[in-house]
């Protein structure tokens, strides 16, 4: 497995209770690349993330993550691999009996050999990244939906993983909060060069990510100037009926002649 590849799916199929959800899909996510997964509800987008994380096993095909074939690994081995991957779940999936501080620190505390002072500083740094340092002592139930997503992002990035998986990070949020979250994802992509798979229903999220970069001087996301060369490495993957019908960059997507894709992005 080439070292420049973060995740590769080869002819992966999975079905649930007789329904074929993914039908022989293949794609590659390169290191440093962000791939945005589009598709109608039930197309299997979230399933792809769970397969990449080894939370589900495919019926057929192989999945390599950071050089490891996750389809052949035992759960014990997967726990080690998952420490290099961060996941932001659709509904945040914060531990509701733990404070924000403990949620974000969870993985660091589980490592056991990290001194408490370092845990504290890394938790604060991660929460500062998502601009929620003041929520340290709050319970998840005391946060708004957007804040919960941002805490979930902080929990995913606190160990600086090599791969991030975002499952509808802006789903059900208002446009302003959504843009704020996309800005954080762009910041993570451009500052830390993390490889990422992002599931979303919102086309504009994908196009904003492809057309913007994070300006570290101003501390904000800015639109790429026409002809400006940025290293923002963002591509798109569209699923339909369990198959990949498009895998490429924004210009190719914009000029695609497939009727379904044209209708989807219109």
């Amino acid at each position: 497995m080439a070292r420049h590849i973060a995740i590769s799916f080869e002819d992966v199929s999975i079905s649930f209770e007789g329904n074929l959800v993914l039908d022989g899909i293949s794609f590659v996510l390169e290191r440093g690349e962000t791939k945005i997964l589009f598709g109608v509800a039930g197309a299997g987008k979230s399933t792809i993330l769970k397969l990449a994380l080894g939370l589900l096993k495919p019926d057929h095909g192989s999945i390599h993550v950071l050089g490891h074939d996750v389809t052949q690994m035992r759960e014990e081995e997967l726990f080690q691999l998952r420490r290099q991957i961060g996941m932001v779940f659709q509904e945040s999936a914060l531990f509701d009996s733990l404070k924000v501080r403990e949620n974000v620190a969870y993985r660091l505390i589980e490592e056991k050999d990290i001194p408490p002072e370092e845990v504290e500083s890394r938790v604060r740094e991660a929460l500062r990244f998502v601009e929620l340092e003041r929520t340290l002592e709050l319970m998840p139930s005391e946060l708004s939906g957007g804040m919960r997503r941002r805490v979930a992002i902080a929990r995913a990035i606190v160990t600086q993983p090599e791969i991030l998986l975002y499952d509808s990070p802006t789903g059900g949020l208002d446009p302003i909060t959504s843009t704020r979250i996309i800005e954080l994802i762009v910041k993570q992509r451009d500052v830390y060069k993390t490889s990422a798979l992002m599931v979303t229903h919102r086309l504009q999220d994908g196009f904003i990510m492809a057309s913007h970069h994070f300006d570290q001087q101003s501390g904000h996301m800015v639109e790429n100037a026409p002809g400006e060369k940025t290293d923002a490495n963002t591509s798109f993957l569209i699923l339909r009926d369990g198959k990949v019908i498009f895998d490429g960059a924004a210009p190719e997507l914009a000029h695609n002649t497939d009727e379904y894709i044209k209708e989807y992005i219109s």
Binding site: K50, L53, L55, E75, E76, F79, Q80, R82, R83, I85, M87, F89, Q90, E91, A93, L94, F95, D96, Y106, R107, E110, K112, R155
Partner: protein, 258 residues
Amino acid sequence: MELISPVDYVKESVQAVQDWAELSGQAIRNVFKKPRYVADMVYQADIIGVGSLPIVVLTGFFTGAVLALQTSDTLARFGSSSLTGQVVSLSMVRELGPVLTGLMVAGRNASGMASELGSMKVTEQIDAMRALGTDPGKKLVTPRVSATVFMMFFLSIISDLLGLIGGFFVSYFMIGLDASQYWTMTYQSLRNEDVTMGLVKPVLFGFIIASVGCYYGLSAKGGTQGVGRATTQAVVAASVLILVVDFFITRLLMGLGL
């Protein structure tokens, strides 16, 4: 309402038993594996043990009391009221202490475990835990199973003792038996075999309560309705299993000469 075929029903039932057995096996194996979540175990022991104390005390006391009341009346017909203490002690220690404690703890804690883990399951917190590199079996199941087994042992002893005290109150204040006679009969009628049987059962019942509660919680699906269903099923299954296992373990221990 959708009807399920008998074949599918049997398949699902066998699958459920297999999954429960697998979860139980893992819970036992994890006791000997690192990491061990000792703090979680102590926390669960507090919830299960200390939290269940009031209901166990009340159940034990009044069961012993009513046992004395019922048996003394029958024994009086044969002129053997003095044997009341013996009946109460044997019934409580061998049977009613462990079983009633088991049923009470099942009602309180198997439901609690199923609803807590079920809520975590349907809100993807279990998946999040796995994604964060933690084995939910080690973090959630093993501490609950260990704590329940450990605390059931002591709760049963407390229940037995309170049962004897309840029996004493009735025998002394209502039937008019001599206090010394009651306690002498109670003490002398108990053999090591009776005590052994009374201490083996709660350990098994504790294991059943926690493993069934965790199993139904972790297999919950379908939102809050699914959590509610899992909670009910956990209590019913744990209670029935306690009574069934009680019969077989009693027969087995009697067969072994206990």
